[in-house]
């Protein structure tokens, strides 16, 4: 009895062992294939929305890990630590610095489903069939590559894109209409002595100097052949104007971080300043009047896009392409449009927005219902109209693009002089 039970027991054990081993061998590759992919997404905090990452993970099972840094640091990382991310969200003007390092790989548009639907603003520099200003680093100048590994830009459209556009906007001055109490219509107002001690400027040199150039031109002091690529003399002139204003106490502060600009405006320290669209929205959600004021000289535009570093291959590369495709597919675009940005493929975003939302955000029509932000905060009561009007009016009014100048080193040196003055 005991003997036989022992025998059975051993067999049972060995059977289980064998089954476990076999099961293990079968299970292993299965588990491996299901291993979750995490994409490290390098970009600025403004563009890294938690809701977008959550929705993407829910849709595809791929996790997004945000690495939020400042605009300048995105470039720095791309140049100095290209292995530290799987996907880069950077501005087009940074490409002049990143591309020559060979750290980015051209994106194959054949793998991007909606590539041909990307707005002509990027591919041809046109809005509604009309050419817009292309001073500075206009995206169409740095959009294409001859081959995926090319280190120089192609003038004509090709199969390979440097970045797939994600968001873009046209920046202008933000004002507190309740404190200014009169219409503002020109960039020149930034340095109007009326706002002495109540103005602020962006302290990111390459962008701040463009805002300053808009002011210089608006004031009729000088007309730049290309605000986005000044000569040393032009830089000197622009900085001189800024230093004079600073010495007269024009600026309350300079700001570098998105939240600083919100704080300055909301607290009433500043009534007129260079500003970004979501910052204006943030001030408004506090119940404080703030206008992203359209100006007659036009807008300074910027555009950001996704790039793929060379180090990403295999399944990870597939996941990156999946994310980019998902991003252009509409949900994310609608989300961005509701924040006051613009999405790269308008038609897919439109499908995911309510008609009254589309009419308010994109067609410049009065809001038929209350307009809410993606988080549900009230942005505009029914009947209100978006600052700057329709997409065509706003993006058609682009005067120049964020840029990196050939004389960048000199410009930074002069900017430091302005800060020290």
């Amino acid at each position: 009895m005991s003997d036989s039970s022992n025998k059975i027991d051993t067999t049972r054990r060995s059977l289980i062992k064998g089954a476990a081993a076999a099961g293990g061998a079968i299970a292993f590759p299965y588990v491996h294939a299901q291993e979750k992919i995490t994409l490290r997404y390098l970009g600025t905090a403004v563009n890294q929305d938690k809701a977008i990452a959550e929705k993407f993970e829910a849709d595809t099972g791929i996790r997004i890990q945000y690495i939020p840094v400042t605009t300048d640091d995105v470039t720095k990382r791309a140049v100095t630590a290209p292995n530290s991310f799987d996907l880069i969200d950077t501005e087009y003007f940074s490409l002049k610095k990143i591309l020559p390092t060979g750290n980015l790989l051209g994106i194959d548009t054949k793998r991007i489903k909606n590539a041909d639907k990307i707005t002509p603003l990027f591919t041809k520099g046109e809005v509604g069939g009309k050419k817009v200003g292309d001073q500075g680093t206009a995206p169409k100048k740095v959009m294409y590559l001859e081959t995926p590994t090319s280190k120089t830009f192609s003038a004509a459209p090709t199969q390979f894109m440097t970045l797939i556009p994600t968001v873009y906007n046209a920046d202008t001055l933000g004002i507190r209409p309740d404190l200014i109490k009169r219409p503002v219509s020109s960039w020149a107002e930034l340095l109007n002595p009326e706002f002495k001690g109540k103005a602020a400027l962006l302290n990111i040199p390459s962008i701040g100097i463009m805002d300053a150039a808009m002011v210089v031109e608006a004031a009729g002091l000088y007309k730049y052949p290309d605000k986005g690529n000044m000569t040393k003399k032009e830089i000197d002139l622009t900085i001189k104007v800024l230093i004079e204003a600073k010495k007269n106490g024009q600026f309350r502060a300079l700001w570098k971080d998105f939240n600083e600009s919100v704080n300055l405006m909301a607290s009433g320290e500043v009534v007129i300043q260079s500003m970004w669209s979501p910052a204006v929205t943030a001030v408004r959600t506090k119940g404080i009047a703030c206008t992203f004021q359209p100006l007659k000289e036009g807008y300074r535009a910027w555009a950001a896009g996704f790039g793929v570093p060379k180090s990403v291959t295999g399944r990870k590369a597939d996941a990156v392409y999946e994310f980019i495709n998902w991003f252009l597919d509409g949900w994310a675009g609608a989300y961005l449009n509701r924040q006051g940005y613009y999405s790269a493929v308008l038609e897919t975003a439109k499908a995911k927005m309510e008609p009254y939302e589309w009419a308010y955000w994109m067609e410049g029509k009065a809001a038929a219902k209350d307009i809410k932000s993606p988080n549900g905060d009230l942005l505009q009561k029914a009947g209100g109209v978006r600052d700057g009007g329709s997409y065509e009016e706003r993006m058609g009014g682009i005067a120049c693009w964020n840029a990196i100048m050939d004389e960048n080193a000199y410009m930074v040196q002069k900017w430091n002089e302005f800060v020290a003055a």
């Binding site: 300048d72 602020a200 300079l254 600083e260 320290e269 930074v412 430091n416 020290a420």
Partner: protein, 290 residues
Amino acid sequence: MKSLHLPPWLQATPFALVFALFLVLPLLLVGAVSFWQATDYELIPAFTGKNYVDVFAGCANTEELCVTLKTYLSTLKFCVLVWAITLVIGFLVAYFLAFHVQSTSMQTLLFVLCTVPFWTSNVIRMISWVPLLGRNGLVNQGLTGLGVVDSPVEWLLFSDFSVVLAFVHLYTMFMIVPIFNSMKRIDPALIEASRDSGATGWQTVWNVVVPLCRTGIVIGSIFVVTIVMGDFVTIGVMGGQQIASVGKVIQVQTSYLQFPMAAANAVILLATTLMMVWALTRVVDLRREL
């Protein structure tokens, strides 16, 4: 028994290695890079003195100070102001803690109170100055409410005043601790002897306590001076980004990938700060006193 003791050089080796790897080597690299050339996107290891020449560009002009000198002067000004104020406040607080608070538990409690400024993050702490000192802030509301001023006082925020205020608020602690430490080591018999010899309270402080606290004062001063010389966050936020500091210049240059220029500036800043620390250590022989 004696054979069990490791030779002193062996005991010091691990720490020396850490220092060599994480301090000396990076510093040597910074020194090397400061003589390199660079483009927008790459460093070229070819020797040049141009970075140093560029740092001092325009400094031969006698009419107007060049940017570098102006920046250093501004940073030095903050250094002196903050050092003087933290020294006085730090000394007073330490004196109170060491000689007037009797129980150890009370001393500990008050010490913890002194660290309150460090309980929140740097940025949050500085942003919260805005509702206090701003144009529509508490202080201005109070002043206009009391009828002391007609229109809000503008220099409370984004000014030299606010920068110094934030520094003092933050770094007085670094003065208090070493000075308190020196004070606790003063033999109470010495104070008694001074009193017995007929010295007034002031005379005791000036002739007995202060000289015996020299070590603490110098250590605290080194902390404060080195922190203020290298700071760019506090000056940036409290100065509304409108006040130059050497740290800020370096930060802007690194973020625009101008590493050689930034390295040259860093080397000059390091040399300046080391000279100041060296001057301080002339006052007290730290090695002998500790």
